[in-house]
């Protein structure tokens, strides 16, 4: 399960709507609680893709490094990634699956004509997977709640 703090959820929605018609992205920061992901923050990262940002994102590695270090200083960790699907359902694409890393949780927010529609969460069925793997995404339930 993914427990999503309301402030983090609002950040994902706001950044996804702001980025439309391009894909927006950011990191999911919080703590693991058993098998659950408890996300308390969703800092924005830059989508560095310039060829086709309506259908692809390349999350800035510099932003990722900075966000990871800031999280560690406060005893938190990077649990996963979020990105938006402009005018497309919140279902992982083949590109999402093949480029995913195991043990991260991936949130996808669907934005229709600039407005938030829905959000889903996914994780690979192989915690050790690195891209070019054959692992599959499995759905993760999202529970909104204060942590």
């Amino acid at each position: 399960m993914l427990v999503l703090e309301p402030g983090a959820r609002a950040k994902i929605v706001a950044e996804s709507e702001r980025a439309w018609p391009h894909e927006g992205c950011g990191m999911l920061v919080g703590r693991r609680r058993g098998a659950d992901f408890v996300v308390t923050e969703a800092p924005v990262a830059a989508n560095e893709n310039t060829d086709r940002p309506r259908v692809w994102y390349d999350l800035s590695p510099q932003d990722q490094l900075r966000i990871g270090k800031e999280a560690e200083k406060r005893g938190l960790e990077v649990l996963g990634i979020y990105h938006s699907h402009p005018d497309h359902p919140a279902r992982p694409s083949e590109g999402d699956r093949s480029r995913a890393f195991g043990s991260f949780v991936y949130v996808i927010a669907s934005i229709e004509k600039g407005k938030y529609k829905e959000m889903t969460a996914w994780t690979l069925d192989d915690d050790f997977a690195v891209p070019e793997h054959a692992a599959k995404f499995v759905r993760v339930d999202i529970e909104e709640g204060r942590v």
Partner: protein
């Protein structure tokens, strides 16, 4: 040279910790040293055929992307911090 290496969550199940120690005079040597201490990590980090860091990973030394330095040949010194950062992307 003893270098602190920060590893991302997907590799922490192999290393057992988010920060580990490596040794070597270059980025490539430090990565090779990790395989000895943490079997299986080397193949996740480098393509065995070419010895190059896999294209879905970025390596930073003291917050500098080694692609803009000398890649695997980038020199490191005692106390440097090396970060393995996944190349996060999708559609």
């Amino acid at each position: 040279m003893a270098v602190k290496v920060r590893v991302p969550a997907p590799l922490q199940k192999l290393t057992g910790a988010p920060e580990i120690q490596g040794t070597g005079a270059t980025v490539g040597e430090v990565i090779a040293s990790l395989e000895k201490s943490y079997p299986g990590v080397g193949a996740k980090l480098c393509d065995p055929a070419t010895g190059k860091v896999r294209r879905y990973l970025n390596v930073f030394v003291n917050d500098q992307d080694v692609r803009f330095l000398q890649g695997e040949a980038t020199a490191v010194k005692d106390g440097d911090e090396m970060s393995i950062v996944p190349a996060i992307a999708g559609g």
